[in-house]
Amino acid sequence: MFSRAYKAAVTLPPLVWVTVFLLIPYLLMFCYSFWSVSASQTIVHSWNLANYGQLLRVDVYWQTLLRSMWIAARVTIFSLVLGYPLAYFLSFYAGKKKDLLYQLVIIPLWVSYLVRAYAWKTILGSDGVLNTLLQYVHLTKHPLEFLLYSPFAVVLTLTHIYTPFAFLPIYAALEHIPRNLVEASHDLGATPGQTFWKVILPLSIPGVVAGATFAFVLSLGDFLAPLLLGGPSGIMISNIVVSLFGAAYNWPLGAAISFCMLLLVVTLLVFSERLEKKWGFS
């Protein structure tokens, strides 16, 4: 029913915009990753693989990448551990309060990411709320220093931020499970536990995969929480990129790292889409 002109009119403007502001910048990032910086601090447009060689050769780059992936993996696991049972509780036990509780999970997302990271800083610092509270009730004599400026602080803060992200797709998946399947399992004599493990959990896997992907990818690329709360031992890969684009002034090397991250993210996305399809209804 829609004419060719209609289709062209709705397709072309976004297509052009997305090409100019997304596709070309990504390709540009790819180009930059082969260039280099001269001694006089100008970018030399000579094509070579030196930047990628450096990523493999210099320990600090791939070690930081591995550490970032380990931090992101912990954030993902904790977000799922917090988010899944919460989603399950809301979907199956919350009754009429379901909508209200759902909104309560969403509301923290409306508080700026930066502000929440900052709030954790005021809680975890050596004269912060938690340490002074512990001393006030005489549980500790001296402030616990490991709380702030550590990977612990980064993992805690990112878990706080990404738990609702993990929760949302899991909750959506649980809500889509036909209730008569659950009733059938119940009627056929399965205990709630068996129903959970054999019916509900397998059907909610697509939501778990989507939530895990969100939490992992977004925390992997984070650079503000590590800057604010991480200290030297909590540095992540994006912090290196930030310094390469700033004080260290090596855009091409920074572009090479960013492009590797982009590839990693897209690979994970494709992989998780496959998993979701495999486990989804159809």
Partner: protein, 274 residues
């Protein structure tokens, strides 16, 4: 009602789940509560128990020129981002739902990518574009960055709305002699009112809070999150808590507004089908 509730309301499993839920909510709200509480604390951002409750930080805040300048900048950026994202996101949703063209799969992936891509990659790739084209960094470059990244929000919201839309109305409008332009503005858009308003509110708040993309595209004028970021590095006072509290209250108002709108929209839709 919960399915197991009638028989097993007090079994250990559901009690465990309830306890877990209370714990997660405490974890989610603890920093927000601390943030708000210490915006009234005379002694600074930390220290238990809070001392000398005061409104001084709010007074300091209201007299703080740079903060309000940055708020104005952020409002401009958010409005522009909303316009850009809707202008291109709504047609993109129509294109994805109604048109077939070569490269559609890539187009879909590109449009949605910024939603899940860490902001640093979106920010840096645009920085390189602006660098190569010799574009000076300013609020304008941040608007372009936010607008582009948030097209994904408009597209997903509107696409979901389109799938529920009954095409018969559009067909009737076309059959009765309206052209596509009239049909779009008089039938398609009014029917997508809720997803469009929802997307607009979401884009607005996401842009107000955005920092990772702005971080790389900033010129001379700060947005609010970048102004806060600059102050966090210089040493912190409850003034930051105060401004965050005010923004939180505004966000809450926006959520309640959106929620009531949606509930009304849904009950109206149910009324029509009855």
């Amino acid at each position: 009602m919960g399915l197991f509730v009638s028989e097993t309301r007090f079994d250990s499993g559901s009690r465990w789940l309830l306890g877990h839920a209370v714990g997660v909510f405490a974890f989610l709200y603890l920093p927000i509560a601390v943030l708000i509480l210490y915006s009234f604390n005379g002694e600074g951002v930390g220290g238990f128990p809070p001392h000398h409750l005061t409104l001084n930080w709010y007074r300091t805040l209201f007299a703080d020129g740079p903060i309000w300048d940055s708020v104005l900048n952020s409002l401009q950026v958010a409005l522009a981002a909303m316009v850009i994202a809707l202008t291109f996101g709504v047609p993109a949703a129509l294109a994805l739902e109604r048109a077939q063209f070569p490269g559609k799969a890539l187009f879909r992936r590109l449009v949605l990518l910024p939603l899940i891509l860490p902001g640093i990659i979106t920010g840096l790739s645009l920085l390189m574009l602006f660098n190569v084209t010799g574009t000076k960094l300013s609020l304008m470059t941040i608007m372009l960055g936010h607008g582009t990244a948030l097209i994904a929000v408009a597209t997903t919201e509107v696409f979901a709305g389109l799938q529920k839309l009954d095409r018969a109305q559009e067909e009737a409008s076309l059959d009765l002699g309206a052209n596509y332009w009239q049909t779009f503005w008089r039938i398609t858009v009014p029917n997508l009112k809720l997803p469009i308003i929802g997307a607009a509110l979401l884009i607005f708040t996401l842009s107000m809070d955005e920092i990772a993309v702005s971080f790389f595209l900033i010129g001379r004028d700060n947005t609010l999150p970048l102004e806060i970021w600059g102050r966090l590095r210089r040493g912190i006072t409850p003034e930051i808590n105060a401004v965050s509290t005010i923004i939180f209250v505004f966000s809450l108002v926006a959520i309640v507004f959106w929620y009531r709108l949606r509930v009304r929209g849904e009950s109206a839709a149910e009324g029509e089908t009855k």
